[in-house]
């Protein structure tokens, strides 16, 4: 990489880290920094344009403060992203390590299941799962976690297959190191860069799916503040109150963009360090 692209890459890395960091702070501190209760309705003040009457980003069809809903929506988004990715990572870790370390038969069987899960269109499969187990964010998180677990399982399996042939892993086996220590000391730390990169990218994917499901009405249920849900309601007033769609749309777009950027850049940086 040239010096110029290097600076460019670092700059965007900082920007996305700052944005995502701010998002986390906002999500945690939402009750303290939000100007109003995100669920409090104020029918006389419906469709207040941004910047008037104390509604910094306007109000929606029930007169609720859009800014407050946006801030609280960050909570749902990060919760879904975090929990879904943690679940995907957990399942993927177990499946990937088992497939990589067990024999060919187990490996083939597990990967067949993973490929089957991966072959479904993501949103369609999520809708099916949520339809069976009920609407709502917990179900959405679980569904997304399960659906994205093959992404992790594949990476972890490939890494395991490569690493277990490395002389340092063979040496550890020759020294009689127990399997759990080989996994925790020799395998997982050495695949961490790839896992971290995959995590950030998957958070972005999870956010998109959550927003899609909420938009379709099977995710977050009213009056839960959720960006996808805000978009869903905004659809009906697109011409009268365009700010209702603009801000949650921007929030989703920016967050997903920054997650993807961070994932790509992290992947590249960690790759180079090795």
């Amino acid at each position: 990489m040239t010096r110029r692209t290097e600076i460019f890459v670092r700059f965007f890395l900082v920007v996305s880290v700052v944005y995502l960091g701010a998002l986390v702070v906002v999500a945690i501190a939402a009750p303290h920094i939000a100007p109003a209760d995100p669920r409090m309705q104020n029918i006389p003040a419906r469709f207040t344009p941004p910047g008037t009457d104390g509604f910094l980003l306007g109000s929606d069809e029930f007169g609720r403060d859009v800014l407050s809903r946006l801030l609280f929506g960050a909570r749902s988004a990060l919760l879904v992203g975090g929990v879904a990715v943690a679940l995907a990572l957990g399942i993927g870790m177990v499946v990937g390590l088992t497939a990589g370390l067990a024999g060919k038969v187990v490996d083939s069987a597990l990967m067949l299941i993973m490929d089957a899960v991966l072959s479904f269109p993501t949103v369609l499969l999520a809708i099916t799962v949520v339809s069976v187990f009920g609407y709502g964010l917990p179900q959405v998180m679980t569904a997304i976690g399960v659906i994205f677990s093959p992404l992790f399982a594949r990476i972890i399996r490939t890494e395991t297959l490569t690493l277990k042939q490395e002389p340092f892993v063979l040496s550890a086996r020759a020294l009689g190191t127990p399997l759990w220590r080989i996994i925790t000391v020799h395998l997982v730390p050495n695949m961490l860069p790839k896992i971290v990169a995959q995590c950030t990218v998957t958070v972005a994917l999870a956010l998109v799916v959550e927003a899609s499901l909420s938009f379709l009405g099977v995710g977050a249920q009213p009056p839960t503040p959720s960006w996808g849900l805000m978009l869903r309601n905004a659809r009906n007033y697109l011409f009268d109150a365009p700010w209702l769609a603009l801000y949650p749309g921007l929030a989703i777009g920016l967050t997903v963009f920054c997650c993807n950027l961070l994932g790509d850049l992290l992947g590249e940086l960690l790759q180079r360090d090795q």
């Binding site: 002389p167 063979l170 040496s171 020759a174 020294l175 009689g176 020799h186 050495n190």
Partner: protein
């Protein structure tokens, strides 16, 4: 001759390429019916060109990639019995050093941790471990003060010293050296070889020394085995084999440069 320490009996290693529908569709015999024994405190040199099954044999004897058939017995311990106690004993008796010192150490572990690994597995307490590590590092010529550094701060030769220290930590009797100096500079090669010779004398070790470098094998070995296409085609005491090789392939190996199986500085 002293007592036999290592006995390798009819060891074969076959790799199956199993398909989803056709099991055992194709098989590849990497090592075929190899037998040899090594007397205690001696060096068996194993020569052969790349891809002849030397490393597969090394991993089979070390029981990392157990043989498809055949037995390995080291100092009366047979890992093929699949008994826990036997296996644990085998792991303390037999150690292996690989060719590439760069991938032989976990990049995310400081070298002290690496060297202490075998001791930790045996439940040696922390303070005794630290003393042992210092002693082992000192023995192979690495400053014990550097125990907390990561492998990337060390050169190839230094890393191979650390790898040897790690193997010796469990006080093995038999060391399998799979091309231990092949990826090092020639000047460093001599240092490591001398270290190995010294350690063998001090700790009364037995070596299986694998290499494609005939000069090295001739210099180190008490006995030499020549391997080709997965089998040992000739085995004899070193002087005898060098002076009067019986097999034509061995003669070709020992003849002058043009027939040498591979250039000295190969890139791998």
């Amino acid at each position: 001759m002293t007592a036999e320490l290592v006995r390798v009996d009819n060891v074969s290693k076959v790799y199956y390429q199993a398909g989803l529908l056709r099991q055992r569709a194709r098989s590849m015999v990497a090592v075929r019916n190899v037998s040899f024994s090594i007397a205690a405190n001696t060096v068996l040199g194993l020569v052969g060109e790349s891809g002849c099954g030397k490393s597969t044999l090394a991993r089979a004897v070390a029981w990392l990639d157990p043989p498809t058939s055949g037995r390995v017995v080291v100092s009366g311990i047979d890992p093929g019995l699949r008994e826990r106690s036997q296996m644990a004993l085998f792991r303390r008796t037999v150690q292996i050093v690989f060719q590439d010192p760069y991938s032989s150490l976990n990049p995310r572990q400081c070298i002290g941790e690496s060297v202490a690994e075998g001791l930790r597995n045996q439940g040696v307490p922390r303070d005794r471990r630290r003393r042992e590590v210092a002693r082992l590092l000192d023995m192979v010529g690495i400053s014990p003060n550097r125990a907390s550094e990561r492998p990337h701060r060390f050169s190839g030769g230094q890393r191979q010293r650390i790898v040897i220290a790690r193997a010796l930590a469990v006080q093995p009797r038999f060391l399998i050296l799979d091309e231990p100096v092949s990826s090092l500079d020639v000047s460093i090669q001599a240092q490591i070889v001398n270290l190995l010779v010294d350690l063998k004398r001090e700790l009364s070790l037995t070596y299986l020394f694998i290499s494609h470098d005939l000069n090295l094998i001739a210099y180190l070995s008490d006995e030499i085995a020549v391997m080709r296409d997965g089998t040992i085609i000739e085995q004899a005491p070193a002087e005898q084999l060098i002076a009067a090789p019986v097999h034509q392939y061995t003669r070709a190996l020992f003849a002058d440069a043009p027939v040498l199986p591979e250039p000295r500085s190969r890139s791998s």
